[in-house]
Symmetry: C2
Subunit: 333 residues, 2 copies
């Protein structure tokens, strides 16, 4: 039976939504058990007794807060995120979910669990919604601000394998994010990455794609460096928020539009489902030796439940082995 | 009286929307005249005789199409864009507007009109809408894919002066696009640009801003390289389109939402005005010795009219002199 470690303390709203999400996950999936890492006394109050059979508690007192530096995390061995990662490192858990300090989770995962053979730098992948019934996996969205072409090549391989093994897509197509579709487009690093990918044995490399392609679903996996990935994520959030706010402001101006808005509430609600991160759960850190799912600090129970499901899917797949094998096979530099 | 040169042939829909836009501009502003560059015979058919007093036609036969390479433009001296730029170079016009091949317009403007003293690379600036009643000027959005910190420094100075002299903003605030607000954030080039800006005498440098800040209107001017600028522009367009499409699809599903949508049409229409590029007209190429406004290839008459107004505002300002003076004053490297 799979065992999932969960940092129960790291989220912005404390342990309650995390434990609630964990219980929701246990309720629908009887094939796993969990180790909740955090202050035992607090956690015991939140767990209904009938779930204590399937939730072990690993007591520890320290919590890395959002204000702390990622580098501190390595020294604070009694913190919930350190201990949760250590469970995976020691083979006591198969995967880990954290809604805590994402920099700390990344550093600890990379240094304690370790990188897959052939991976220079792990990358964070996230799903973006499209107007079709599918999502686009984008990586890296924040782990590495300065990347060379070899890093981007590895991201492409890791993203494709995640899309295949965990998202269960058939022959996922990769695009390289650039400032135009033509082969000649791109900055220096992107053009070099294009060369590496085009001359490798990797399948289904569709060449360059543009920012708008992410939301059209032109390809399944979009590759970029973590600096650009962060900017595009925040830009997308900003545009969506702004459109929402402009609509809201204009709505207030006329009674007739208020009537319209009431009628359209259902539509907006279904739209929210499409763009809501809680639907996807968390972002996998790809390239480390075991599944690490980084959830949003503001995760509600639903987001945590979905993050745990992602961890289970990843832990039940051949993700890490496939990344190692394919990197060895495709690499030509 | 100001004289504006306009490439009448370069747009995706031929000369008609361009001449219509020019006439609309002449109608509301009696203080300028124009030189329309293109096939005289075609243009004469589109210009009402009473406007021929204020529109000179410069006859030329060649047109650079979107499929041509920007580098070809330098050799094809009988093309409408070449001739329009040449009018400014020779002092026969004060500014130029083109809806044609933007790469060709940029190269010709840079090489024929020439760079302002102190400018290493001209940059394209564009306005993005916010939820408040203001816009954010973003540059570079496509002229330069690989930039160093000195280029970004110059973009900051040029953007601030354009916001002040042409957009008439009082003490415009500059932000540097990065993956977080803290000083320590950024890739190598961005961190170096931060240093240059923070240690210069430039006023109102607000430090790093994130992708979402563009649409919140946190600052007036956002600086990035042209690779990232292109990606964020396309990402913003993609998100807006996708939200529109998801809404539309969902609307079709229920009668009640159709009723709502009819009532909300006014709201959507006013939203469209906020995000419609036609409202802004075109994107100025900053850093060349005379105003060059690059309009969208798909410009309608309204967009052309607004692009001409931008050219007039820029040509009536101290833009180029201020850029030269301020670059000399602020530069500390």
């Amino acid at each position: 039976m799979l065992k999932i470690a969960i940092d129960a303390m790291g989220g912005d709203f404390g342990p309650e939504p995390i434990i609630d999400g964990l219980i929701a996950a246990l309720r629908i999936n009887t094939a796993f058990s969990a180790i909740a890492v955090g202050r035992k006394e607090e956690l015991l109050k939140l767990i209904p007794p009938e779930y204590l059979r399937r939730i072990e508690i690993l007591d520890c007192n320290d919590v890395i807060s959002m204000q702390d530096h990622a580098t501190d995390a390595l020294k604070r061995k009694d913190s919930s995120i350190y201990q949760a990662i250590e469970l995976v490192k020691n083979g006591q858990a198969d995967a880990v979910v954290s809604a805590g300090h994402s920099g700390a989770s990344m550093s600890l995962a990379t240094l304690r669990i370790g990188r897959i053979k052939g991976v220079t730098r792990p990358a964070i992948a996230t799903l973006m919604p499209t107007s079709e019934n599918q999502n686009t996996l984008v990586l890296d969205v924040g782990a590495n601000v300065d990347c060379d072409e070899k890093n981007l090549f590895e991201f492409a391989v890791m993203g494709q394998i995640y899309a295949q093994d965990v998202l269960k897509l058939d022959e996922p197509i990769i695009g390289l994010l650039s400032n135009g579709e033509e082969e000649s487009k791109g900055n220096e690093v992107t053009r070099a990455a294009y060369e590496l990918l085009a001359n490798s044995q990797i399948k289904n490399f569709a060449g360059n794609v543009e920012g708008s392609d992410i939301f059209k679903g032109t390809v399944d996996v979009v590759v970029c460096d973590g600096f650009i990935g962060n900017i595009l994520l925040k830009t997308a959030e900003g545009v969506a928020d702004t459109i929402g706010q402009i609509l809201k402001k204009n709505l207030k101006r006329s009674l007739i539009s208020i009537a319209g808005a009431v009628l359209m509430r259902k539509v907006f609600k279904s739209l929210k489902v499409r763009v809501d991160y809680a639907e996807y759960g968390g972002a996998p850190l790809l390239g480390v030796k075991a599944p690490v799912i980084i959830a949003h600090g503001k995760s509600n129970p639903k987001a945590i439940k979905n993050a745990i499901n992602q961890a289970i899917s990843a832990a039940s797949s051949r993700l890490e082995q496939d990344i190692e094998d394919k990197l060895a096979k495709y690499r030509n530099f």
